[in-house]
Symmetry: C2
Subunit: 197 residues, 2 copies
DNA sequence: ACCAAAATGGTACCCACGTACCAATATTTA
DNA sequence: TAAATATTGGTACGTGGGTACCATTTTGGT
């Protein structure tokens, strides 16, 4: 981990994590490079090796930062709609926001593609496995809550089924150059949820 | 394309494509590098730039080669079982062979992971789009035939649905470190096919 | 105030890679 | 067969990137 033991040091370290997180979101794992992170954070190159024992270490911190931030946003969004909305369309959009990111709302392949590149790139980074499992579990939990609140089947198996449906339609849309992968996922999801409330 | 105009030249060019294809299958897009391809083919480095105007050109040729070879194998396998087998288990395995590759049968994450890395890496290589679309269509056609022969629903939409189901469960299995992604896909697929013959 | 530890930042090393160059050969074709 | 064209293969250039080094400077505790 290579922690910092000074307040200022801690701030710098955090700045690096944030910078790395932005780069991750904008360009995927490969965009996290020592020099890019340092420049983005306005810090010298050597600071990246000082606070992180390796690039993987930095990547791990960035992933955790981004993922937790996104989960928190999702939870907040969910809480804002606390008054049980049962409208299927709303539920679908909520789930899509959680699985594809809110950026995917404004169309375009890029944000969705980036996300799936990240997903598929994860197994090659075994050090991310524990973190990813934890975050996946929380995400499933969140979606289960949404389903429960809207009166839909919210069992573990059903949630996993919906995840597969969304991920599968997105992946297929991406490789077929469909300009609207979120739309593809929406259709699958809607069709499924409307017939089994 | 930078074709060859000599028999020997054509053979060398082909050797490079085969080598690149092997590297692609073994290590993904990034494994296709001038030096690696040349070494694998037992040819000098410069031969790779002589026969292919760029690395992308070489990658394209490799993808086409591998994909067509695999499609042909799938078709052959299908024809061998021409006598309409209606057993769901057989159909499921056949579809999994086509979508995940026969290498995935002997367990292990690697071959499946490699395949999905390839899928997700495709959109970043726009020059592959036409080729991929063509091959995807043929693959769907193949699966439709399988379904039809076994008396299952074989409509375009249903096929797309099955693809999404398989791809989605695989992706989820991969990111959850499930050691048997093919098994995960098999369960989803079986469950679906057994209730809607 | 003083010392040890933490932090800083500039620089350098080394490797992998895509690609270009070019003189020497081999192959075609008129 | 001779000129034109295709091929060969060794080498070199330039870039990007991970990581190491190290002389200073700053900070925190006593």
């Amino acid at each position: 981990m290579t922690a910092a033991s000074t307040p200022k040091g801690e701030r710098r370290r955090q700045a690096l994590v944030v910078a790395a997180g932005q780069l991750l979101a904008e360009g995927g794992f490969d965009a996290i490079r020592h020099r890019a992170v340092a420049e983005r954070a306005g810090l010298p190159l050597a600071s990246t090796t000082y606070y992180f024992s390796s690039l993987d270490d930095l990547v791990g911190a960035a992933v955790e930062h981004e993922a937790r931030q996104e989960l928190a946003a999702g939870r907040a969004q969910l809480d804002a709609l606390a008054d049980a909305r049962r409208d299927t369309g709303t539920v679908v959009e909520l789930i899509l926001d959680l699985l594809l990111g809110t950026e995917s709302r404004h169309g375009g392949v890029e944000p969705v593609l980036l996300r799936y590149e990240r997903l598929v790139g994860t197994p090659r980074r075994p050090y991310l496995a524990p973190l990813i499992r934890e975050l996946t579990a929380e995400l499933q939990q969140l979606v289960a809550e949404i389903l429960a609140r809207s009166g839909a089947e919210a069992g573990r198996e059903h949630v996993r089924y919906l995840f597969a449906l969304v991920d599968g339609s997105v992946v297929n849309a991406l490789i077929e150059s469909d300009p609207d992968p979120r739309g593809a996922a929406r259709r699958m999801l809607s069709a499924h949820l409307e017939q089994s409330p």
